[in-house]
Symmetry: C2
């Protein structure tokens, strides 16, 4: 059986080398390439056709978030795990919105990395353990629906306390449209009123 082909993307050589060392210890994994920026990453992906890309979020020029979105669009089969020094909630949220399958902190142990990889390959989402996030919050993040730009915009206005008529006026759209978007938001979050909608969105880091 072929090994799992993995590409690591990070602008810090130390991280690359660290990952290389750790991945070498996982029998079924093969680090087939490494990239220090998004352009190089896209080239490598094209060339190597990996099963998994592990990318830093804070890349120069094109961020890991944009890279993830591009990868997922062009190669939906490739799994992507985001990586960051900090467990910033909004980063994780953005990564997931971009289609990432998992998230790791850079301080992760070999065991955690292995677990992340196997989970993601099995089609499950993996989120790194975070002292600032409880299980409920992580669940909220995993189940986070994908929102359109307009929906995000309206979600924020709802959170800011604007009523539907006020939102309609502000965005120069009809009250009915605002209502439709709000209803779609409620459906996506599987809830049935704005208060809990905002709670869920807030826990997910969208707001």
């Amino acid at each position: 059986m072929d090994k799992l082909k993995v590409i690591v993307v990070d602008d810090h050589p130390m991280v690359i080398e660290g990952m290389r060392a750790m991945l070498q210890q996982i029998a079924y994994v093969e680090l087939c390439a490494a990239a220090s920026n998004a352009f190089m990453a896209l080239e490598m992906v094209e060339e190597k056709q990996p099963d998994l890309v592990i990318t830093d979020i804070n890349l120069p020029e094109i961020s890991g978030i944009e890279l993830t979105a591009k990868l997922k669009k062009e190669y939906p089969a490739i799994k992507v795990i985001g990586m960051s020094t900090f467990n910033e909630r909004s980063y994780i949220s953005q990564m997931i919105q971009s289609g990432a399958d998992g998230f790791l902190v850079k301080s992760a142990s070999k065991e955690e990395i292995e677990k992340a990889i196997s989970s993601v390959i099995d089609g499950q989402m993996y989120l790194s353990v975070d002292i600032n996030m409880n299980t409920q919050e992580k669940k909220a993040l995993k189940d986070q629906p994908v929102l359109t730009r307009r929906e995000k915009e309206i979600l924020h206005l709802i959170a800011d306390g604007l009523t539907n008529p006020q939102i309609a006026e502000k965005l120069f759209i009809s009250l009915n449209t605002v209502d439709t978007h709000r209803k779609n938001l409620l459906a996506k979050f599987e809830t049935n009123n704005s208060a809990s909608l905002i709670k869920l969105a807030s826990k997910s880091g969208i707001i």
Copy 2:
């Protein structure tokens, strides 16, 4: 002019000693006593009548949060600064609810401690810089209203998506009462609908 009398409360001797060393470098501050638990702290406060108490949050038996509440009740003039290893949002929130005037992470520098002390003595609230909290969120925390137990209970139920009638049924109280509490919540948070109420409460860490 007399020096500022400070009492430090922490169950780790190292923290006490560290604080002692740092406070010694601040000319106008005098560490008049140290305590390793809340009982001892209350005794020391009684005896020394300090201007400021700096207390750990995670104390054995009686927590720093309860200690703060007791201190603020018995000696409203004494300033209290909470301290914790982690910048846990809910801890900070609870400390402030208990009446604390400031919050420090244990990794704080001498400069930060000095700034916290001078701010608090001047009557201003001081919150330690936190990578996981932006300015807006800190503001929300500072302006956080004090809620009654019932109000907190109802706030959570609103956030969970229950309607007023459902809350009334669950708590065996009248719909009018629920409505009154909700209206009081809106007034305390200076907003005018449940969605933004939940956003503010969420940002404040109450939810």
